[in-house]
Symmetry: C2
Subunit: 804 residues, 2 copies
């Protein structure tokens, strides 16, 4: 840590302003320490006693004074320039600082009137922190002005960029801790600058806060020299500014001057792009490297060990304050060093001259409506899905590509909402590969680096965000949604696992947000998972994993939905539905390959609204009695294999009574007591019978169906086939055979599960097994599926008459 | 793309060598194209006909010629300097290139004798690629010399670093594609240089292969200018060298000269560290930026559209070769441009003068034993776990910290294996926080940046790898294990989800490896998940997620194990057991906080060997009849709450007959038909009874227990309580109450589930409900748990007599 500030040496603050901003910072620091430690005696009007101290000391001091310092200087620049700024606090552990600052600016008490701007309110403010029934220790949905939790590190910068896309007047000041800077997602997100268009987007001001330490270690960038850091961030495409030191007054001058420079740069870049000639280069945005001591202004030493400027300041720097008078003395001296009487009046209110340092109204970062995006959200304009419907003239004989059809709908969403500029599509370089290419009729991919004459579909103002990082796609979309817009993430199914943990955190954010009345609903996070497990036969085993939905199903029922539309019209319905929902995470799994189409648009709408239903046209059961077997399916490939199995059975065992049940909305399988979409037991029993064998062909790992249905009457007869982790590069049908989800295995299982049938039908079973053998030989000889397999179509006309 | 090579201009290759290396490269390119396209006519001895072409063209050409170019030049430097090099192929899509090169050097035919080094072998080599029953399209376990799949991008560089730790003579040449370079994990892994000690570790030579395009887009670094790239990698701490162009002869000269320089640098850094004075700076290792056209030497244009040097060359550049004679002509001209007669003799063997260019024996990269680490693996020396056992003098009254005890064992593992230098511990800055700190008695954290006088536990030769990136921890460990060593990854439970997808890919790698007789077993990947959901009360909701094991349970039963040791001695047993296994992924979930201890070492060993068992000492059932209720538990906190519930029940309803079952090995719950550790139905019924209510307190999401037991006789009576996604910053006990996993809820449910009991015991239920109310009030007032809760101990002595 250098004791000299390096950049710049000019004096921006006069003595009065310097004094004021330093007092404001001290007030925030005081409130931060108070939250970590105090149950009572908030203004230290009496000597600190054991009973004033919380029994469990929780919270993180280390990063907090730096966060407070930045907040105070952002307040200043907002006031001076009337800027629209939100604060993304990457070191979410610095929750006390975010709470302290929104309390100082008055936002906190407006949202939580019981935490009033007086001594009693301050007492409650301190007490509630990390206290049962109170607020969490981190910046969280409960924190005004926050769209970022920061518990799991890595996503501050992508959230910041997501927030400013299509928000030309917004600036996201994003503090990245030097711990977080070690994570993969954060390391990649610096490249987000190549996707930010200064003409139509806002700006991000990254502030890399190097305090040098993690929990028990130095950090990589904290120990790196300035020259390495300058080169690194110049290489990332930024113009780095350095603010370094520990002397508060020097640091205030340096920060104020550097902010002036940085915000000048931002304004110049934007004005140039908006009013000048649009150059063919990605602008070099400013970023700030801010080196300050960990636990700055806290105890220098405790028990003879270095604390300030070291990792021992990370959490609670002096910990035994209730039992140990010496520790308590350190705490009291520390708190009094901020001179609370100089900051708060006799009633515990922030003194007027300090109060004046905060911006007013919505310019306060805790009150900025962008950080409570539901306030700004306007509904997406959606076209009528009927306009895109596949005409299923011959049920099960018409072929279409589900995602291609859905792409037409998305294209028109883009057109209809072009003026509002509130919808984007995100994905890792796969929009075209996932057959959503018709969106490129009306937009392009965003690209701010050089565009060459032979490039295709790149533009500065594209609305498709493609980067080979699922982390960036997810994080940008989260930031975009949390600030009140709409979007879709289209991804290869297997690789959505890359963002499992980000999904978890967003689900947690939504769960808590929904419990806060002041947080207004934001649009749902919509996943379209395609290039799925059954059609990654060309890419092989590493690309074959349908397990994301298992993770999703663990989350709160109110938050999550899983849809498996079997064809294009059902995909249209579910996609349209999901884009209109809010405060949820919707997962749609649908294929991109040419597939048979089953339902007209009207039928699709009815089926999807119910979420599950009997396909009478495919069944041959008699209405008066229960069928011999229920052939159930969920997912496009399982649906086709099930119907092909039904065809085999009906051809070979005419007397077998079969019911076909298709599931679009997976949550319908659960009890209505477990999920709002769940069926009652009575309805479930009507569909699946109380006692007949159910052969269930499922898209993913079979266990999920068992866990969703284990309480149902007939669960003991539900036999699920799905992905059993067998895969390689092979043919599409061979993938189903490897996992025993193919038509022959399904038909054989039906025969074996219907009581008494197996013994009578050994010939049919043998026929099917021979077919499997024939398939096996054929693909290994020819490298493609037998024509009778790949060319199979539903052999009945729309009246149910078998075609010759 | 510049047409001039930039660095260096010296001429390293004489005309003869230049000609030879170019022919070798052409041979590899020829074999790569042949694999993608040909069923027959491998040497083009006759004109190419439709029937020679595969019906489904699968594979990725774009990256392949560059990979082949690098391979040829690595061969040269290996021969010239007798180097020990493995090739990590980040662009795993370049599978044809890896196969082609290992075939050329002879390794492939040694491992797969049916793919012989002659015309017939070449025909089979071509045919098998991406063909049913053949080999996958990517570099994969089937590929000789590979430890890296590359299907899911991002992990090439961490695998490379993991491979060379403690392998001082090994160099991992690691090709990073410019697509992969956009991912988060890869962006962070450049920082691995700060953990590489040139005195004891080998070296990584990163080769950033910029061919400019992904599937349908330019890449960020592909479009960045040299100066930005130079600054970026200088900032990361490397010395970048550039090799750029498209003229093969110039590029050969440039690559040969650059390799000479780069390997000189590596040697100098190593010699300096090993024989000179050890400086206090992290060395500036070389890396190479290699810009070559995508699809280099392939068709320039197809159907009037740019292919070479553009993204259209990514997969199959000319696709309709079976049906379209014009396309077929392009393919034939392309393949003949390599002049196969100049490369292979009349029998289809690589000509002798070219064969001589490959290294010999184990120096061939396809035959390097480090890439088949089981060949080199030596057993870990482990101490007797009894030496670390907690003496449980008073069962359920002795307190210990499980992970702290396990830390002592790990410390001695480090000591016992210090000479072999084949064990490391990985984790994101949490070794101390996870209470494994006693390992620092004998080792340190690796740290190659500056070490300050007041730093604690940092050293150049530490064996603990800490970085705030779960991706790096996981990837390094994978590379370390796959090259034949041992390790442990200790992680906060919630944040292990960050590497869900890496876990998936490693499980897939193991699944396939185990099916290949020539791949020798490697040590298991062992996770110690601590700071778990029930003891993240201080960090709050974002740190509370026990769902990783759900993901794990989806994988092949042969591969995965999940252990939930309830105390220190059971953790010792399971940890010791896991470290001795191979070709598996073991997940151990265990707490770090002070907890009651239940089993002596002998009891723990018996219990863990069985995986599950009745705790007779906690039960009060009579042996002759079935108990009224089974109180089952898995996990340390659920075990304590269950025993506390048993205490409550026994105190209040003396006549209730209770059995306590504890589960350590979660896979025991499955059927023995589903998992090798599964219980038979008969044994399961003996433990859980066929018909009595089972109150199951489980560590994670309750569904997992249902899905593991849904086929069991008594599953309808199994009532599971676990984490239901309710959490915040609160007290430890309040966390269990929020999720209704606490002793009172468990006891109430037992009363409610035992037929007829509820009606008789409304008073007891009310008592317990009142206690919950009392708790609720108490924690909100005092901020800590009631003493009777936090101080609860098992109230019986070792003879089962209740203590007063």
């Amino acid at each position: 840590m250098k004791e000299q500030v390096t950049t710049p040496s000019t004096t921006v603050l006069d003595t009065a302003e310097l004094g004021l901003i330093d007092r404001y910072w001290r007030a925030a620091n005081y409130l931060s320490v108070g939250q970590i430690y105090l149950l009572d005696n908030p203004l230290l009007r009496e000597p600190l006693k054991a009973e004033h101290i919380k029994p469990r000391l929780l919270g993180h001091w280390g990063t907090t004074p730096g966060l407070n310092f930045i907040y105070a200087h952002l307040n200043r620049i907002i006031r001076n320039r009337d800027l629209d700024i939100i604060y993304i606090c990457g070191p979410g552990h610095g929750g006390p600082g975010m709470v302290a600052n929104t309390y100082l600016e008055g936002t906190y008490s407006e949202i939580y009137p019981n935490i009033s701007s007086d001594t009693d309110g301050m007492r409650k403010l301190f007490r509630q922190f990390s206290f049962p029934g109170g607020i969490p220790s981190h910046a969280a949905p409960e924190t005004p002005g926050s769209i970022h939790e920061g518990g799991e590190l890595g996503y501050a910068l992508v959230h910041a960029y997501g927030a400013v896309f299509d928000n030309p007047d917004l600036i996201a000041a994003c503090v990245v801790g030097d711990g977080e800077a070690e994570t993969g997602p954060l390391a990649a997100s610096w490249h987000s600058n190549k996707f930010l268009n200064p003409a139509r987007d806002g700006a991000v001001l990254p502030i890399l806060h190097l305090n040098g330490y993690k929990i028990a270690n130095p950090t990589l960038l904290g120990r790196a020299g300035d020259e390495d850091i300058r080169q690194l961030f110049t290489g990332y495409g930024y113009e780095p500014f350095f603010v370094e030191g520990s002397d508060p007054h020097q640091m205030h001058q340096a920060m104020a001057a550097t902010f002036e420079q940085a915000f000048d740069r931002i304004r110049a870049i934007q004005q140039d792009a908006r009013h000048g000639a649009a150059g063919n280069v990605c602008p070099r945005w400013p970023m700030i490297v801010f080196r300050s001591p960990k636990g700055w202004t806290g105890p220098k030493e405790v028990d003879g060990k270095k604390v300030e400027g070291f990792w021992r300041a990370h959490q609670v720097p002096v910990s035994n304050c209730r039992a140990d008078a010496g520790h308590r003395k350190i705490l009291e001296d520390w708190m009094r060093s901020y001179d609370p009487q100089d900051l708060f009046d006799i009633d515990g209110r922030l003194k007027d001259e300090l109060r004046a340092l905060a911006p007013a109204g919505k310019r306060r970062m805790g009150a900025n409506p962008h950080a409570n995006g539901g306030l700004l959200r306007s509904e997406l304009t959606t076209p009528a899905i009927g306009d895109y419907a596949v005409m299923v003239n011959e049920r099960g004989r018409t072929v279409a590509q589900s995602t291609e059809v859905f792409g037409h709908y998305l294209r028109d969403i883009l057109t209809l909402n072009a003026d509002k500029a509130n919808f984007r599509i995100f994905g890792p370089d796969e929009t075209e590969s996932n057959r959503l290419g018709s969106v490129f009729e009306v937009t392009n991919r965003v690209w701010m680096e050089e565009i060459k004459p032979y490039d295709v579909g790149l533009a500065r103002d594209g609305r498709v965000m493609e980067v080979l990082s699922e982390h960036l796609c997810q994080g940008w979309l989260e930031g975009y949604l949390l600030t009140g817009r709409h979007g879709l993430f289209s991804c290869y199914e297997a690789f959505i696992h890359i963002v499992d943990s980000m999904f978890n955190q967003h689900a947690k954010w939504l769960k808590v947000s929904r419990e806060l009345p002041w947080r207004k609903p934001v649009s749902s996070l919509n996943y379209l998972l395609t290039s799925h497990v059954w059609r990654q036969d060309h890419n092989g085993f590493s690309h074959q994993d349908p397990g994301f939905v298992d993770l999703v199903a663990n989350k709160k029922a109110d938050i999550v939905r899983i849809y498996l539309p079997p064809d294009a019209n059902t995909l249209l319905w579910t996609g349209d539905h999901c884009l209109k929902t809010y405060d949820r995470i919707n997962v749609i799994v649908a294929g991109k390959q040419p597939e048979l189409q089953w339902l007209s648009m009207d039928e699709a709408a009815r089926h999807c609204e119910a979420g599950i239903g009997i396909w009478h046209w495919a069944s041959n059961e008699q209405s008066a009695v229960e069928p011999d077997v229920v052939m159930a399916c969920a997912g496009d490939v399982p649906t086709m294999e099930t119907l092909a199995a039904v065809d085999l059975l009906r051809q070979n065992i005419a007397e077998l009574s079969i019911r076909v049940v298709n599931v679009v909305d997976l949550m319908a399988l659960q009890s209505n007591e477990q999920h709002p979409h769940g069926l009652t037991d009575a309805v479930f029993d009507e569909l699946f019978t109380p006692d007949r064998p159910v052969i269930f062909a499922y898209h993913g790992y079979p266990y999920l169906i068992h866990r969703l249905t284990y309480r149902r009457t007939n669960h003991g007869n539900i036999h699920v086939r799905g992905f059993i982790e067998e895969g390689t590069t092979t043919t599409p049908f061979d993938m189903t055979v490897l996992n025993e989800l193919d038509r022959y295995h399904l038909a054989i299982e039906a025969i074996e599960r219907v009581p008494g049938l197996k013994e009578k039908r050994t010939d049919t079973v043998k026929l099917f097994r021979d077919k499997l053998e024939e398939h096996h030989r054929y693909v290994r000889q020819h490298g493609e599926d037998m024509p009778e397999i790949s060319g199979w179509k539903w052999p009945f006309d729309n009246n149910g008459t078998r075609l010759t």
